[in-house]
């Protein structure tokens, strides 16, 4: 692994410290593929031309209700209102739109998501593909044409790739892309210049966060092999309902908040079930993400529904 040194001479050790403790309210700025953190509100270098902004919403779990938890609908409405206020160019939703893959839950989610007043690019979570391999999900939210639901698009010179790793899970519960999708990804990326910034988004993490809970993707390695030659690769996912970052050379990984309920830290407690928190704490653990691109740099701002 190459030594990671930030633009301000921040060494790898210090960068990793930020990574470990970074979370809500920290902005990650990319400089030549290497992130540095800024406090929220602190501006990126002055004089830079504004690029474009997109948003990420994840794990809305419409239909989820447990214990004293309020409606996942209400918290999504809150999140969507906050996202609309950011006026992003478009929004990505990194899966688990619904809780139980029902047509009604998809319809409710789609109605609420219209509140962002922008195009939304979806990929499914494993809660969206129960029993029908995502048929209902793709009918409503699908963008992949002639594929198993995966697709790509370009925006302002950045290449976006929406990947599906939940339709067939492995027997150990990890995500799986499958050879057909990996072949498609290789072909999709082959003729692009290495200087094209890439954003790949999918539901389950593409790095092994806690495989015992299925928090990883079995065949992420060949996907990363196709992505690694690009100078700036940003991988966005949901699934674990908390913000964690990881850097591997030019590839950075970012998990996202849920808008519905929090989950425990990796491996903490008996299982990955919804974290029970006092009602007044809940919104401090749910949130949305804003991403600002300036040239080939992207900065991420995670804000909670309590901010």
């Amino acid at each position: 692994m190459s030594k990671v040194v930030g633009p301000n001479g921040v060494g790898r050790r210090q960068a990793m410290k930020h990574l470990l403790w970074g979370g809500a309210g920290v902005v990650w700025t990319f400089a030549g593929g290497v992130p540095r953190s800024l406090r929220v509100g602190e501006e990126a270098e002055a004089g830079e031309m504004r690029g474009f902004t997109f948003g990420q919403i994840s794990d809305s779990h419409i239909g989820f209700k447990a214990g004293a938890h309020p409606s996942a609908q209400d918290t999504l409405v809150d999140a969507v209102g906050r996202m609309a206020a950011l006026k992003p160019d478009f929004v990505i939703h990194t899966g688990d739109v619904s809780h139980l893959s029902t047509a009604g839950q998809f319809a409710t989610a789609a109605d609420i998501m219209q509140g962002v007043k922008r195009d939304v690019y979806y990929v499914p979570g494993e809660h969206d593909t129960i029993g029908d391999e995502g048929k209902l999900f793709f009918q409503r939210f699908g963008r992949g044409r002639g594929t198993g639901g995966w697709y790509s698009f370009d925006a302002h010179g950045v290449h976006f790739v929406g990947l599906v790793n939940v339709v067939k899970l492995t027997q150990t519960g990890l995500g799986w892309f499958g050879p057909e999708q990996l072949k498609w990804l290789g072909e999709d990326l082959r003729h692009r210049s290495a200087s094209t910034p890439i954003v790949a988004f999918t539901h389950m993490p593409m790095w092994s966060i806690y495989p015992q809970w299925g928090w990883g993707t079995e065949d992420a390695a060949p996907a990363l092999a196709a992505l690694r030659r690009f100078g700036s690769v940003t991988i966005l996912n949901g699934h674990i309902h908390q913000v964690i970052q990881k850097v591997e050379g030019n590839v950075t990984y970012h998990t996202a908040y849920s808008t519905a309920f929090p989950q425990p830290s990796p491996g903490v407690g008996p299982g990955p079930g919804p974290l029970q928190v006092p009602a007044d704490k809940l919104k401090t653990l749910l949130g949305i993400r804003r991403l600002d691109f300036v040239a080939d740099r992207v900065s991420l701002t995670d804000t909670t529904l309590a901010d």
């Binding site: 239909g63 214990g67 129960i130 029993g131 519960g173 079930g273």
Partner: protein, 126 residues
Amino acid sequence: MKRFFRRRPKVSLLAALLVAALCTAALLHNGQAAAAATSAAATKSAVTITNYSFHPATLTVKKGTTVTWVNKDDDVHTIKSLDGPEAFNSPALDSGNQFGFTFHHAGTYHYICSVHPYMHGVIVVR
């Protein structure tokens, strides 16, 4: 044959149990039925889902037994067979929901939760 229960309130569950008890009592005149009722009573026919696992992980029942899975987790689970003489695949079971399947053929049935495939269970039918 599949039997599927969704969000049945406790009252009707109690009513169902009462009806089942009355039916069992009514059938006691029939020796064969009484024997079946006795063995059913002696064999656990429920699997509880708690903390992302099936309890008991292996359940042995007599042919003709209906096994009911009860989801006591806050998360959603499913019951999906991997092998065995008959296939079963439940819809999504929300917290508190249950799914029943009647086993008519002897054999060993491995099953998983399709949402969390690391959850494994076995039903042995004799």
